[in-house]
Every structure is written in structure tokens, then in C-alpha cells.
């Protein structure tokens, strides 16, 4: 005896199998560049350019990783990236949250004009002002300093706008109740508004961090001191001074990719929500 429910279930299961197969195929395709890099990174340097190519061979080893970690500057670049990205993230979140709250909830002179100016800044494409920005950073004496890399990235009107929208959505009654309880605006901000805003703050932090971690052009232009090179800058420039060694390049690339991938695995939910937040705020 077959019920109509059973037929639907079978059809649904068949559909799931088809979809899952297509999905698996595409996901495999998407992961090929990683897998190939991984395979290359385990080969002895001499075997990376040997035909026919092989995915797996018996003499695979960790030599490339060893030489990248011992002779290369990878740890130094990693440290610089951590310092710079953390600095950018902390400063951006603090500065943007304060500004967003100021625009959303307080009064001061020229507020509308300044807010308009901030919104207009979202339209300014960062890469396009690079040349004059560099000239100005030079004037400030910040070329080849951490601050020179960090501070220009802290000016993020889009983040102000995202936080502004969120703060506006917080019911005023909460704040007013706190005011009447005698709380000053700083306390309201710190004890009422910020705790309510954790998800959006997480989203902004994560996106700022990813953006800064992966930023190539600005640190590339504003630093010449190799001791200040970030991961992307270090990776991009090291190959020009040595011959190309694919196993080492791939192991270096994978090591450089690792931190953010780990972060993603742990914070997947927040990141996904962050994309939705930033995206929707962008409307």
C-alpha cells in the first residue's frame, strides 16, 4: 500500500539526492585550487614541475613548510598583520560606534550637515584617493609606520552608517528610562546601547578585520620597511626577489590563508549574519 505522502517523500528524497550531487560536484570544483596548492606544498621542490602531474606521490614531505617557516619572514608578517588588523578593527569599531551613536541619539551643531558629509563619504572609492592620500600621509610623516598603515583604514563612513541604522532601531524608551535613573549619556551608551548591539558590533568588527587583513594596496604603498610588511605584502613581494619555488610559494600561501579560515570555521554564524547586516545596511 502506498500513500500519497510516501510518493512525495520519495520524490523529495530523489530531489535531495540530485541537488546534493550537484552541490558536491560544485563544492569539489570550488575546492580544487586549495587542494592543488596543498598537494604542491607537500612535494619536493624538484617534483613540482614534473610531468605528468600527480596529486599524491610517495615522497611527499614537509620540507617546503620547514623552509618557509625557518628562512622566510612569515612569522614576522603574521605578527604585523595581527597588530595592524587588530589596531584597525578596535579603532574603527570604537570610533564608528561613538560617531554612529552621536548621530543617532545626540544633538549638536551642524549635525545634519556633518551626517550628510559622512554619508557622502561612503561613495568615495578608497583606491581612487590613494595618490593624494599618500602625499598627505607623507606630509604627516607617517610613511613606513604602523600608524600610517592603520589610521587611513579607520576612516570608515560605511561602518558608521551601519551602526547608525542599528542604534536608531533601539527603542528610545530604554535610554530614557536610564536617563531618569540618573545615568549620563556615557553610561547609557556603555551600559544600555552597546550590550544591545553586540551582533552588529560583531558584524562590523569581523568585516573590518577581514578587510584590513586582506588589504594589499595601501600597506604595499605606504611601507617600504620589510619589517613592517603584512602577510599579503610580504607574500606578494618575496617572489620578485627570489626565483619562483612553487612548493614554498604554495605552503606560504596556505599558511597565510589559515588564520582567517580558522576564524571562519569558529565564527561562521556571526560572519554569515555579518554579511546579511552589511549587505542590507548597504541598501
Amino acid at each position: 500500500m502506498s500513500s500519497p505522502g510516501f510518493a512525495v517523500k520519495v520524490r523529495r528524497n530523489a530531489g535531495q539526492i540530485v541537488l546534493t550531487s550537484i552541490g558536491t560536484l560544485l563544492a569539489a570544483l570550488w575546492l580544487v585550487p586549495f587542494a592543488w596548492a596543498l598537494s604542491t606544498s607537500f612535494k619536493p621542490e624538484g617534483d613540482t614541475q614534473k610531468l605528468p602531474l600527480s596529486w599524491i606521490q610517495s615522497n611527499m614531505n614537509l620540507d617546503a613548510y620547514r623552509s618557509v617557516l625557518s628562512t622566510g619572514n612569515l612569522p614576522k608578517w603574521l605578527l604585523n598583520s595581527v597588530i595592524i588588523s587588530t589596531g584597525v578593527t578596535v579603532l574603527t569599531v570604537v570610533v564608528s560606534a561613538l560617531a554612529a551613536y552621536g548621530f543617532a541619539r545626540t544633538n549638536f551643531r551642524f549635525k545634519r550637515a556633518l551626517f550628510g558629509l559622512t554619508l557622502a563619504g561612503i561613495m568615495v572609492p578608497g583606491t581612487v584617493i590613494t595618490a593624494p592620500l599618500f602625499a598627505n600621509v607623507r606630509t604627516m610623516g607617517l610613511v613606513d609606520t604602523y600608524w600610517g598603515v592603520i589610521l587611513p583604514q579607520v576612516s570608515a563612513p560605511a561602518m558608521v552608517f551601519i551602526l547608525f541604522k542599528f542604534f536608531q532601531g533601539i527603542p528610545r524608551e530604554l535610554e530614557e528610562a536610564a536617563t531618569i535613573d540618573g545615568a549620563g549619556r556615557w553610561r547609557i551608551f556603555l551600559q544600555v546601547v552597546l550590550p544591545l548591539s553586540r551582533p552588529v558590533l560583531a558584524a562590523v568588527s569581523i568585516f573590518t578585520f577581514i578587510g584590513s587583513w586582506n588589504n594589499f594596496m595601501w600597506p604595499y604603498l605606504v611601507t617600504t620597511d620589510p619589517d613592517l610588511a603584512t602577510l599579503p605584502v610580504g607574500l606578494a613581494t618575496v617572489q620578485s626577489s627570489f626565483g619562483i619555488r612553487w612548493a614554498q610559494l604554495m605552503s606560504g600561501a596556505l599558511l597565510a590563508a589559515l588564520p582567517l579560515l580558522i576564524v571562519f570555521v569558529f565564527f561562521q554564524r556571526q560572519i554569515v549574519r555579518g554579511v546579511a547586516h552589511t549587505g542590507i545596511a548597504g541598501q
Partner: protein, 448 residues
């Protein structure tokens, strides 16, 4: 509220003060930042004989330079040398130019000779005191005349040549031996003229079963250097001596371009190859700068390296040169300046270990040193000194410069077969014209 009365209101105090405090804070940060970096301000405050040395030796040669500096420090305990290795290429020049413009530059820097004309000598660079050099025993006669002349502008020496680094023709002995291309000493036989050259490549192709030449026609910079070398072999010049006029001979240029295109079209060379990987994995020849010597040696390859073979009449091989310069300092002089001259003199006199990093020493006594002559394959291309073809003397020339991008790209297009050699010549002519019509961005260095 009327505009007038609004203006008469006192400004909201906290916010303005806040702004000011913010600016002050940033100022403090800025100060923090600039001292944290390799601040040249520190050198001004430091002792008389403390000198800063900026270089761009981030490759294998960097280790040799650091070794040399350690020896210098041991010999001259009274001179403190702080060396800083900066990122190679545009960014280094940007930084050096900025430092010179502010007059707070390091005492000593390194420059590519080809960039000297564009580096506002006299404004961004200070002249070298040849008297102080002579005290250290370094004289003009100890250098190749062409090289010294190129480093001299309006009668003043602006760069003390440390080396030249020529375009080199590498050959893999394992591939050349069976093709009968090695002489009794295991050196490549002389290949004169394009036909003999291509015959040799064909013979090697036979042996190795793959394209016989590693030469990357895709890279504009590579094409420019190859062109500079081969075109010089025709006896022509690209620009006039004052760098103001195009003197390119179209027919000769077309001949050279046709040859470069043939290398690609007949698959002598496969563009986009990794040259080290190619030669180490059984390739035949490679055309590239001498610094791959270090990579090939590390890979344990049995190879030789010589200047370009003479394909178009007279011997010539493209070369650049590292020169030691004195970036502009307000009030340069005194003990630090003397120490700077001591350092640059010492470096050229002791450039034997620099030669180990594959560069050809500019100081002729070192070039004739038996120890240098014993170095293989370094001594094999030492003749490049006498036949070196440098970039034209214009502001847009030299390593990592506009000419490599703007002219090189048309050379590459012709080599790749995207345009005919004749079109290629017309293109490079107009690109050169455009560059000549562009004002030297740093302006004329010497005020006269």
C-alpha cells in the same frame, strides 16, 4: 535665529576642544610613529660618525651586503653604520626621494644608475667629494670610463659605482654538451650572428626535446632589457646623449624586433615560463640578469653564464649598475659626511664578496683580482664591463621605470606577435615621444 546672532553665540566648547584634543592626540601618535620607524631624525641627533645606509638588497645579495658591513664595522669601530634594507623597486625610490626632498635623508643610499638622470641630482642627491674618495685611495682611473661618465652629471660625481649587473646568457652544460656546443674548457662556443645562434638553439632542442630558450617575452621589463642589449649590438642609440631627442634607427630596431618575435613564433622560447624551473628541469638556455646565478647554484645545476652572444654586428650586453649615492641632507658635512665617504670607498674596494652574489664588481682592481678570476661562473661574464649597454640617459629610464612599462609593453607586443615588428617600432617611437614630452616630474635637479 538670524545668521548674525548664530554666529555671535559661543561655539559649543566641548566639541571644539574635543576636536583640538583629537588633533593633538594624532600629532602625538604621528611623533610616536616616526620615531618608531627608521627615523632619520635620530641620525641628526646622534654622534658625528653615525651614518645611515639605505639599500634595496632584499634578495640573495642582501646577505653578502650585511656580511660586508659587519667587516666594515670591525675595521672602523669609530664609525657606526645603521643599515636598513627596504622593499625593492618603486617603493624604495619613492622613499629615498621623499627623504631627499625633506633634506633629512640617510647619509648613504643605493640607486640604479639608469635612474640617476631622473633623480634630480643636485636637489635630491648631493655630489660626492672626489677629494675624500682619493684620500681613501679610490680614483676615477679605477673605473670603466663609460660607467664613471654616466654617474657624472655637469662635472659632478653623483654615484660611486659598486657593480654592474648585466643581462646574461645562461647555458645548461647537460643540454649543450651532446649538441656539441661546448669547447674544451666546458664553455659555450662563440655564437656569432642570428643564424648561428638559432642553429645552436635548434641543436639543443633536438637534445632536450623541449623549447631550447628560457626568455619571458611577456614581461615588458625583460623585453626592454633584451632590446637595449641587442639594439646596441647594431651600433645604434635610442636617445641622444642629452636624452632629449630620439635617435632610434627604425630599420635596425625592426630587425631586432623581428628577431625577438621569431624566438616566440618559432617556439624557441615559451613566454610565461618560470626561468629557474625551466633551466633546472633540463632546459637549454636562459636570457636573464646575472642574479639567477645564485638560484642555479643553489639548485646544484652544472651551468655557465656569459654576456649576450654577438648577434647584430658588435658586442654589447645590456647592464644596469648599483651606484652608492649621497641623498640630499641639509648641511651635509663634518664627520658623518667623511664617514659616509669612507664607507662607500671601502665597499667598492671590498666588493669581492659582493661579486660572490653574482654582480660584476665596478672597481677595476677587484675585477682583476685573481680571487675574482677564479670565481665560476662570475668571471665568465666579467667582459660585460667593457661592452655594457646602459639605459638611455633620460629621467624616465632605469630599473623599474616608466620606460620599462611604457616602451617595454610595445616591445612585448611585437615579440608576442600581436603586432608586426614595423608596427612595434612605430609604437615605441610614439611611446618615447610621449615620455620626452612629459615634464621630468622632479624637475631639473641642478639649479643653474
Amino acid at each position: 535665529m538670524s545668521r548674525m546672532s548664530q554666529r555671535s553665540l559661543p561655539p559649543p566648547g566641548p566639541s571644539r576642544r574635543g576636536l583640538l584634543r583629537g588633533v593633538a592626540g594624532l600629532g602625538a601618535l604621528a611623533a610616536l610613529g616616526s620615531t618608531a620607524a627608521c627615523g632619520s631624525a635620530a641620525s641628526l641627533a646622534g654622534g658625528e660618525n653615525r651614518i645611515q645606509f639605505w639599500n634595496l638588497f632584499s634578495g640573495g645579495d642582501g646577505a653578502n651586503m650585511r656580511g660586508m658591513l659587519d667587516r666594515f664595522r670591525a675595521e672602523f669601530p669609530g664609525i657606526q653604520v645603521e643599515d636598513t634594507t627596504l622593499a625593492w623597486g618603486d617603493r624604495y625610490y619613492t622613499k629615498l626621494a621623499m627623504a631627499g626632498a625633506g633634506g633629512r635623508a640617510p647619509e648613504v643610499g643605493v640607486l640604479h644608475l639608469g635612474r640617476l638622470a631622473g633623480f634630480a641630482p643636485g636637489r635630491l642627491l648631493d655630489p660626492i667629494d672626489t677629494g675624500l674618495l682619493a684620500e681613501q685611495g679610490v680614483r676615477q682611473e679605477d673605473f670603466n670610463a663609460t660607467l664613471w661618465d654616466r654617474a657624472t652629471i655637469d662635472g659632478q660625481l653623483y654615484g660611486l659605482p659598486l657593480d654592474i649587473h648585466p643581462s646574461t646568457f645562461y647555458y645548461n652544460r647537460a643540454a649543450c654538451e651532446p649538441a656539441g656546443l661546448l669547447d674544451g674548457d666546458g664553455r659555450l662556443v662563440e655564437l656569432t650572428g642570428t643564424e648561428a645562434f638559432l642553429d645552436a638553439l635548434d641543436a639543443v632542442r633536438e637534445v632536450i626535446g623541449q623549447s631550447p630558450l628560457g626568455w619571458n617575452a611577456l614581461m615588458p621589463g625583460e623585453c626592454w632589457w633584451t632590446f637595449v642589449g641587442l639594439y646596441a649590438q647594431t651600433g645604434g642609440t635610442i636617445l641622444s646623449d642629452d636624452g632629449a631627442e630620439i635617435t632610434l634607427d627604425d630599420d635596425r630596431a625592426e630587425e631586432v624586433l623581428a628577431f625577438m618575435a621569431r624566438l616566440v613564433a618559432e617556439e624557441y622560447a615559451v613566454p610565461g615560463q618560470d626561468l629557474v624551473g625551466y633551466l633546472v628541469n633540463g632546459g637549454g638556455f636562459v636570457l636573464f640578469g646575472n642574479w639567477l646565478v645564485v638560484d642555479f647554484q643553489m639548485a646544484g645545476l652544472d651551468f655557465g653564464a656569459r654576456p649576450y652572444p654577438t648577434l647584430f654586428g658588435q658586442p654589447a650586453t645590456q647592464a644596469e649598475s648599483h651606484i652608492l649615492v649621497l641623498p640630499h641632507q641639509e648641511g651635509r658635512g663634518g664627520g658623518a659626511n667623511e664617514a659616509a665617504h669612507t664607507l662607500i670607498s671601502w665597499l667598492v674596494k671590498n666588493s669581492l664578496s659582493w661579486a660572490e652574489a653574482s654582480h660584476v664588481p665596478a672597481y677595476l682592481p677587484v675585477l682583476q683580482d685573481p680571487e675574482y678570476l677564479a670565481m665560476e661562473p662570475q668571471s665568465e661574464y666579467r667582459g660585460a664591463m667593457d661592452i655594457a649597454a646602459f639605459d638611455p640617459p633620460a629621467w624616465f629610464c632605469g630599473t623599474s621605470s616608466r620606460v620599462q612599462a611604457d616602451v617595454g609593453v610595445y616591445l612585448s607586443a611585437a615579440a608576442m606577435g600581436s603586432v608586426t615588428p614595423a608596427e612595434g617600432v612605430a609604437n615605441i617611437r610614439s611611446a618615447l615621444r610621449d615620455l620626452l614630452d612629459t615634464r621630468n616630474p622632479f624637475g631639473e635637479g641642478i639649479s643653474s
